[in-house]
């Protein structure tokens, strides 16, 4: 059987760390990187007698997420205890939500692939629920023992569970990226994957194409980069297909991905799976979210990527592709919007080209985030305006951009003008001056003139190039074309 006979089915569970200042059930700080156990309060350590008190900021972030994906925000949800023993789980149970999660349903539109093969797809979400993170076990540096750091214990998480809607690792990555962009967009999570603020578990199964019933899934735990997500799924899919084609069966299991070997390996089988003995946490009342609260959160939501995308198409005349690219992250969208605000709506397409083109390329090469761009939106807008009013050509603009990138022009909003003035880059639009240059070029290139007149259009381009060169690139290319043709045909 060939590979194409198999259909891949993927669902993701994403643990998104909510960016509250304090923990979900205690007042301890959630800041990353403190000395071990310096940010563990009596509640986080689970001293005898302590009780949890819910952080409303965490709830508000969950509501924000629910509204952003068009989900139902449950008017009443319930915290439950998930019971298991582990040294970095101080209470011996994790407070989570089980039967009644705070966010129910919802969907996210993703764009998969590049160029002509790109397509859009809607991924349905099952639920998103609030829970607390566990601490960390430190197995190094302690001879024959393990260290426990409870700083992370009690950090608020939103666990976002998708339906098994994805059919390839590319779709899974596109979904994870879209979700990552969204949680940062609505400012509920810093998205820092190195620090574990956004972690993915992937449920992967395969089935013969056309079969309705899902295959048996294996869950790959704790993938903390998009690259690992892709690699792990690809490996796992290959492994499952090979096993099935060899006549084997898949057992439900939890597996870990080893980035060094690029392989997944079994952590525990279904038989070893915990019975978590979920039950409603009697220390916490049901979480009741009023209509008024939801309405307030809704009114405070920023414009969401989908809405912004539609606006870019409708108001700025951008293509769907450009609009999608420009709304892929909150920072890019904000940069673009600020550039358009300064350059004027009429120049939006030009702004888009520069943000997605030269700027993106330079940032990528320098490994910089757009928020750290040396060229500010105002400066880029200043330059774009000069292209639009014919002060400079696109070719010259590249020089100006380079100068802006290097911090020339004084760094203010009119830096582009400063550069154009100081370096004399202003486009020559004076017909007399251009005609003078044309005359010189025609006189110096009789052979090309002869060739053109004998019907070789190519010779015309060569002459245009000569004129532009003579102007040091500053002559307006359109004018050069027009005047040259007039002279040659005279």
């Amino acid at each position: 059987m060939s590979r194409t006979d198999w259909e891949v089915v993927i669902g993701l569970e994403v643990h998104s760390q909510l960016n509250t200042a304090s923990k979900i059930f205690s007042g301890a700080s959630t800041a990353f990187g403190a000395e071990p156990n310096a940010q563990a309060s009596a509640v986080d350590i689970a001293l005898p007698g302590v009780l949890p008190v819910l952080n409303r900021g965490a709830v508000e972030r969950a509501v924000r997420f629910g509204l952003a994906i068009g989900a139902t925000v449950a008017p009443k949800s319930v915290f439950a205890r998930k019971n298991y023993f582990y040294p970095d789980l101080p209470k011996g149970y994790q407070i989570s939500q089980f039967e009644l999660p705070v966010v129910q349903g919802g969907a996210i539109t993703i764009r998969v692939g590049e160029g002509d093969k790109a397509y859009e797809k809607t991924v349905q979400l099952t639920r998103a629920h609030l829970e607390e993170d566990a601490g960390k076990s430190l197995h190094e540096d302690f001879h024959g023992m393990s260290g426990i750091d409870l700083n992370r214990a009690g950090t608020p998480l939103l666990e976002i569970v998708s339906e098994p809607d994805m059919r390839s690792s590319a779709e899974a990555v596109a979904y994870a990226r879209a979700l990552h962009a969204l949680v940062r967009w609505i400012d509920i999570c810093d998205g820092n994957m190195q620090e574990g603020s956004f972690r993915c578990d992937a449920n992967v199964s395969v089935r013969p194409r056309g079969q309705e019933k899902f295959g048996t899934r294996r869950e790959i735990k704790n993938l903390n980069s998009f690259r690992f997500l892709q690699q792990a799924i690809d490996y796992e899919v290959q492994w499952q297909i090979e096993r099935l084609e060899d006549g084997g069966t898949i057992q439900q299991a939890t597996v870990l991905f080893d980035p060094d070997s690029g392989e997944t390996r079994m952590m525990r089988s279904k038989e070893d799976a915990h019975d978590y003995r979920y039950f409603p946490d009697p220390d916490l009342l049901p979480l009741v979210i009023s209509e008024e609260w939801i309405a307030r959160v809704r009114s405070e939501l920023p414009e969401l990527p989908e809405a912004m995308k539609a606006r870019f198409v409708a108001d700025f005349g951008l293509s769907a592709y450009d609009a999608t690219t420009l709304t892929a992250s909150k920072e890019v969208a904000a940069y673009f919007q600020a550039t358009v605000d300064a350059a004027g709506k009429a120049n939006a397409k030009l702004c888009a080209n520069w943000v997605m083109g030269e700027l993106a390329a330079r940032l990528n090469k320098a490994e910089l985030d757009i928020a750290a761009s040396p060229v500010t939106p105002a400066q880029l807008a200043g330059m774009v305006s000069r292209i639009a009013d014919n002060t400079i050509s696109n070719a010259i603009a590249k020089k100006v951009f380079e100068a802006l990138w290097n911090g020339e022009g004084g760094g203010s909003a009119d830096a582009a003008d400063q550069i154009i003035d100081q370096q004399g880059l202003k486009q020559v639009t004076d017909s007399g001056a251009i005609e003078g240059l044309i005359d010189e070029v025609l006189a110096a290139n009789p052979k090309s003139v002869e060739e053109f007149r004998s019907g070789k259009e190519k010779a015309f381009n060569a002459l245009v190039g000569q004129v532009m060169k003579a102007s040091k690139g500053k002559a307006n290319p359109g004018q050069v074309n027009e005047l040259l043709r007039r002279k040659l045909q005279a």
Binding site: L47, P48, G49, L54, N83, F279
Partner: protein, 490 residues
């Protein structure tokens, strides 16, 4: 002074007839003399008590005394006390010195009360006889071969033997009312949510409630007033204005102080199972209430017979999870020798917990297990609602409910330890009150055939503590059962 009411002690302290230090010393010396026989205290904090007494004397001298300033008291050893051992009656916490004060402890410290020490109890509040204590059974001051009841047996024995004028306790299924009855004192458990559970080591979170012990209702009132009140650290604490539970007690008695009071007598509480001597004392007390103007009416609590089975599902379920934190990792008992992590858990918990605690953890783990949850836990929650409904219906016909607190007087130490179910049945009249979250009180109303005290239970509607105390107080104004003392305490 040993037998004086709080009112008398207050007057003596305010008039400087006795200092708080002298009063504390008086009780500390009594504890030293009597505790070897009674085992009412696990820890006596002489230094702490004297320091608190000195501070109280200064406050009194400055004219800033409140109702409890300078009054000695004892805390059940499951209230966390900063810097003082808090064992919960368990080997598991034999070395646990709490770094913080429970809300109740902090409130009483702020009121200027002087804590003499920590009282004996059934391990983790699981028991009805105080025999399940790692520190040995507390004994009944009326007959030291008998149990004082439980789980707050040490507090009840201490107050009955006048080793402390007042004491705190907790009541999950009768653990204040039943020992009060068996030792001939007054004990009140308020409406669930009135006393903060912060710092009260949890047994069954949805049922646990702090309560007060004293000789009389009049002396319970100021203690309960100081313990109660909203605490934002307990999510189940009720946000209500503070109450003075003594507010009704000062009105003049008159001939018929309870005129018009409708007392409901549940048929289910007067059926077979109640010992004849208990029945006789309870009937006599009810006749006395009628003489004071009350009217008795028959009511029904048809589901009350299901209280014990429901309780022995819900309480162990919550306990199995609440006690998971005692894993030997961060504090408490850890086995001296162990192999791997799992072995450490198993040995530490096997050694640290007693038989009854293990029994309830096993039962609780079982009823929450996959496949059993619906059949046990959810069914028990349904029963709980039915029982609460019964009380609601009954309170449409009466103002308070009365009956026996315990079906028998105190039994012999060791008599029921081999038969847990017999032991569970001793709480048959108290448990339904916890399941419904209602306030309940027990007051002495006579003696049984063996010269041991009998308790009358009063149950009120939600937040009727002041009325319950008033009814009990009017009875105590007309009788002297609450003034009787065991030999050696007079």
């Amino acid at each position: 002074m040993i037998n004086a009411s709080l009112k008398t002690l207050r007057a003596a302290l305010d008039a400087r007839q006795i200092s708080s230090v002298e009063l504390a010393t008086l009780f500390l010396d009594r504890i030293q003399a009597a505790n070897p026989a009674l085992n009412a205290f696990i820890t006596v904090d002489r230094d702490g008590a004297l320091a608190a007494a000195r501070a109280a004397d200064e406050r009194i001298a400055a004219g800033q005394a409140g109702p409890l300033t300078g009054i000695p008291l004892a805390h059940k050893d499951l209230f966390c006390t900063e810097g003082v051992l808090t064992t919960c009656g368990s080997r598991m916490l034999a070395n646990f010195v709490s770094p913080y004060d429970a809300h109740v402890v902090a409130q009483l410290k702020a009121a200027g009360a002087v804590c003499l020490g920590k009282t004996n109890m059934d391990e983790f509040a699981m028991g009805s006889s105080n025999e399940n204590s790692w520190y040995g059974p507390a004994r009944n001051p009326w007959n030291t071969a008998k149990v004082p009841g439980g789980s707050s047996g040490g507090s009840a024995a201490a107050v009955a033997a006048r080793l402390a004028p007042i004491a705190t306790g907790t009541d999950t299924g009768g653990s204040v009312r039943q020992p009060a009855a068996l030792t001939g004192i007054t004990g009140i458990k308020p409406t669930y949510g009135v006393v903060s559970r912060y710092g009260m080591i949890a047994y069954a979170s949805s049922l646990d409630q702090g309560g007060a012990f004293a000789a009389s209702a009049e002396d319970c009132a100021p203690l309960l007033s100081a313990m109660a009140g909203f605490d934002p650290r307990d999510s189940t604490s009720l946000e209500r204005p503070a109450e003075d539970y003594a507010r009704l007690l000062a009105a003049p008695a008159g001939d018929k102080p309870l005129a018009g009071l409708r007392i409901g007598l549940p048929r289910e509480f007067f059926g077979p199972g109640m010992a004849d001597d208990v029945r006789a004392a309870v009937e006599a007390a009810l006749a006395h209430y009628r003489a004071l103007g009350a009217i008795t009416v028959d009511v029904d609590l048809p589901n009350a017979r299901l209280a014990i089975p429901a309780y022995y599902v819900i309480a162990p379920a919550e306990a199995s999870s609440n006690l998971s934190r005692f894993d030997g990792v961060r504090y408490g008992h850890r086995a001296a020798e162990y192999g791997d992590l799992n072995d450490m858990y198993c040995k530490s918990r096997a050694e640290g917990f007693g038989e009854e605690v293990k029994r309830r953890i096993l039962v609780g783990t079982y009823v929450l297990s996959h496949g059993y949850y619906d059949a046990y836990y959810l069914q028990a929650q349904k029963l709980r609602r039915l029982i609460a409904e019964d009380f609601r219906a009954a309170f449409a016909q009466c103002d308070l409910i009365a009956g026996p607190t315990s079906p028998t007087t105190a039994w012999g130490i060791g008599e029921k330890t081999d038969d847990p179910v017999q032991m569970y049945l001793s709480d048959i009249y108290t448990i339904a009150v916890n399941l419904a979250g209602l306030p309940g009180l027990s007051q002495p109303c006579g003696f049984g055939a063996d010269g041991l005290p009998v308790g009358l239970q009063l149950i009120g509607d939600y937040f009727s503590e002041a009325s319950l105390l008033n009814a009990a107080h009017r009875y105590q104004q007309a009788t002297d059962w609450h003034l009787r003392r065991p030999e050696g305490a007079a």
